[in-house]
Chain length 327, copies 2
Amino acid sequence: MTDVAELANVSPSTVSLFLRKPDAVSPSASQAISRAIDKLNYVPNLMAGGLAAASSRAVSIIVPSVRNAFFAETVSAMQAALKKQRLQLILGHTEYDELEEEELVRMALSWAPAAIVLTGLSHSASTRRLLANVTIPVIEIWELGGPQIDSAIGFHHDQVGIAAAAHLIQQGRRNLVFLGARMHQDRRAKQRCDGFLQAARTGGAAAQVVEHPDTASAEIGAMLLSEALRLYPNADGIACSNDHIALGALFACNRLGVAVPERLAVVGFGDLSFSAACNPPLTTIRPSGDLIGREAARLIEDHLNGEKPERQLTIDTRFTLQHRRSS
Amino acid sequence: MTDVAELANVSPSTVSLFLRKPDAVSPSASQAISRAIDKLNYVPNLMAGGLAAASSRAVSIIVPSVRNAFFAETVSAMQAALKKQRLQLILGHTEYDELEEEELVRMALSWAPAAIVLTGLSHSASTRRLLANVTIPVIEIWELGGPQIDSAIGFHHDQVGIAAAAHLIQQGRRNLVFLGARMHQDRRAKQRCDGFLQAARTGGAAAQVVEHPDTASAEIGAMLLSEALRLYPNADGIACSNDHIALGALFACNRLGVAVPERLAVVGFGDLSFSAACNPPLTTIRPSGDLIGREAARLIEDHLNGEKPERQLTIDTRFTLQHRRSS
DNA sequence: CTGAAAGCGCTAACAG
DNA sequence: CTGTTAGCGCTTTCAG
């Protein structure tokens, strides 16, 4: 920066100012500085900047895993939105482990990030303690309906389950089964399941659960469907903890000669890339993972720009039922 | 750190040393420092550390998008491996745009990362210039077979196409079609296609391409298959640029009453989570996205530990054909 | 094995 | 609008 200043015949602080608030520098100086930057191929050192400013242009985001399409979508949308503010994403994966999350939060904090984004509302006591006294925005995403650390952006997963049950009942189904995967770890899948069961029973339908401990996949979905049909031969409506499970269920129905939706209606969750293309096209509940990311980015921007320094926000991004031929 | 030092009755530099090389500090001092750290809930400031050391514990990784399952897998594997070294991933998405990549590289450099990871071998001239003089490892992933900036980890995509063609020919198919999506942007899909065409023709089979400009999806796969059958009614073997396309092709065959593999053999690429569960299970070529991530992490560790300061490495992670019932 | 000293490259008052 | 000044919290020789 000193070199740039020298070449542009200004002081280093003018260069610094130009870099942070270009409009606050005279056009002539701006031009000279721009030229010097180009000529010297100057790249600012964000570590130095962050140290001096006691906060960095990094945003830490901690998700269970980006291999999960839901979180990949949010991460991707957030990164796209933050890029405009020249903010960088620092990524961490908890793999659904609260201790892992705690360690990641600790590491994240050492970067003095501009904000920290966590998945879900459930965290270890130490994690809460670590985050209790930070002054940056802490944003919990993809879950609503519990005590928040600071702001939360997402939706109520029990309502997803309720919507699925209501839909199946409306379609005249009365013997419902929920197919779930890894619900001992995936709290949100569990919430969808619980909402489903309760709404189904309230609505006068029978409702059962068939589950598998491993990560959701089409393979497990197929297994779960066969199992469900074995245990509950007169089941007529199936809700799945996500579209991977639903896809496998559709494959299994196809193989077993079970007519969908005539004999069995199927509803998924996620509206993944294949869901509309299935045989038959899958009715599913679509969360807006990208909206969650964009809203999170907006919150962070607002905080950075000093506007709306509101805290403790709760933003419900809702979800929509995509009614297709599988139900 | 000063507070910790004071509480532990040592100097700040001893604390610093303890944090970086615990073994170089006496047990008694170590214990006192540990205790002080715990009591004060001390979190080191990595910005300050990075500034002083002129290199940070961040690794920048730039991929087209984590919404793409291939890159999500690599990112995830890499993060898991780097965590052991207390290295953090800074993520950037190019969305298949070289100018975007260039800007991301510039931003990445301002973090003085320990290494920088790019996707593919094709970059803008400016990007190459930016990276020409850096002393940290520059690792290009997911592509082999062109000029490298520094090290490269991946495989030859034309060989994937060749393997698909060879497989179909071996199955007795002679009228082949390649279904491709977004090949004007996705260089690697194009390479697979080119390898396929060449190998097919060399092998004495007819080979055609049917493509779509948008991102690969099952929906587009279904469209492409219908189109292929319309244009080439006697096609008997289909290779797809990835498993999303193949999934859609299988759906379309199912709807059109086209028997797979009797009438039409289908081969995909990716071995995604649903591929083994399809009807029929999909023959596909499986790259090892996680291995790419682990090898990249290993390279970075080695460099950091001063071992094997080899540069210009080329690591071929290969791929394997998963022969299933669709062919 | 421990400590003193000298910055790393930048930001942020503040004064002009 | 520009420049001066005093650090940000740590690492890294270099002595002891």
